[in-house]
Symmetry: C2
Subunit: 223 residues, 2 copies
Amino acid sequence: MFKRIIIAEDIDSENLGIVSSINALTQTEAETNQSCDKTLSRIKEAIIKEQPYDLLISDLSFNLDTRISHNITTGKELIHQVKNIQPDIKVIVFSGEDKPAIIKSLFDSYNINGYVCKGLYGLSELKKAISQVYLGNTCTCPVSKHALHQSNVTQLDPYEVQLLKLLANGYKQDEISLHFIEKGIEPNSKRSIEDKIRKLRQDFDAKTTIQLIHLVDGMGLIS
Amino acid sequence: MFKRIIIAEDIDSENLGIVSSINALTQTEAETNQSCDKTLSRIKEAIIKEQPYDLLISDLSFNLDTRISHNITTGKELIHQVKNIQPDIKVIVFSGEDKPAIIKSLFDSYNINGYVCKGLYGLSELKKAISQVYLGNTCTCPVSKHALHQSNVTQLDPYEVQLLKLLANGYKQDEISLHFIEKGIEPNSKRSIEDKIRKLRQDFDAKTTIQLIHLVDGMGLIS
DNA sequence: CTATCCTTTGTGGGAAACCACATAGAGTTC
DNA sequence: GAACTCTATGTGGTTTCCCACAAAGGATAG
């Protein structure tokens, strides 16, 4: 079983439950940190001391202590950085986030080993996931498995994301055109942007562009 | 100090931390339930047995077990119902939600006694709140206090909420007009609806109606 | 090389949204 | 009740958006 586990979880009321539950399972003392920066520096230290952690359990969103400044503000960034300096570390995400698009992107781009949604049975699912990941498998809890297996796990390419963000931020179609021309992004004609928006409306079954933005907002696709 | 405390919190990893922390403070055994329905029925039973609870600590959003059907699905509804059958019970909300509009509406419409945001120091803030509420005060943690004291705690009236919801759901202005006429809601002329939308755009400093929806979405005003 | 497909861009017309000016009625103040 | 304000609504004009048709350019298969 894992010997050195580190947890990144900001909410103090969660920490207690997670740590005691994990300690019972693994017969070892898991370490917990309430900020991403702290977690990363602890992982760095451990590598230098040649006692690297073998499992990172991380939340995704963090309430930041506003009195100090932060380099890393989300679990996603944290995982990215950690995988850079220690590619072989196992990573399980333990988060309340259940949006398919977000879960999928973590497996696709960040190569995580497990995803467990906080919820009614989150803790027991987390324990299962730890055992499975230790055996070399990847593991998803029922909730996230269901999310991943939805047929319409819409993925947007960077162009579409940027287009939608500009729309959401009050840009009109010709302003978007100008903006793309400035930035050298193509296609950038007024007409093409119109088409892209139309296509997105169709994909999302939106009657108006307003509804389109409402939908992608709700799916967390432009956050 | 409170003698009979009931907690509504769906996430199992939270329960452990909250309960042990509260028990230490109050020297009593708090009861916890993972669903709103269960919580309400326990409160009803307690009244019948003439051993009513004196404090409810409730989350706002609940992951629902999809295998069974639910009457109450949110903490807001739960609090409403509980206050109906036992007006003198004290209520503290313990939630990750930090949107000013939502926090404010709970104090205004549901008459809660305290609000604590889950976060870095959520548990210790919760303990403070329990003591304060026991003394008859209302209590907000620093995070929610800050949220409440923002100058622009925009509150929308029901008409505006409905208008924005229709827009978000793909209705065009003349469709909204027809819809309002059908429902007997006034004002309902195409022209007036246009004006209402314009006013909202100004209030929220939105350049387009698309941006307006994006903004109110983000503030949780139409969810 | 040619035929074909797909994407980008153009054009023009119609629909929806936006805006400025104006009128009517309800409620207030004096 | 006259003057005033505020809201709801109407009209007409401008802008923005939406859509159908089409031409130009690049990529690909045969």
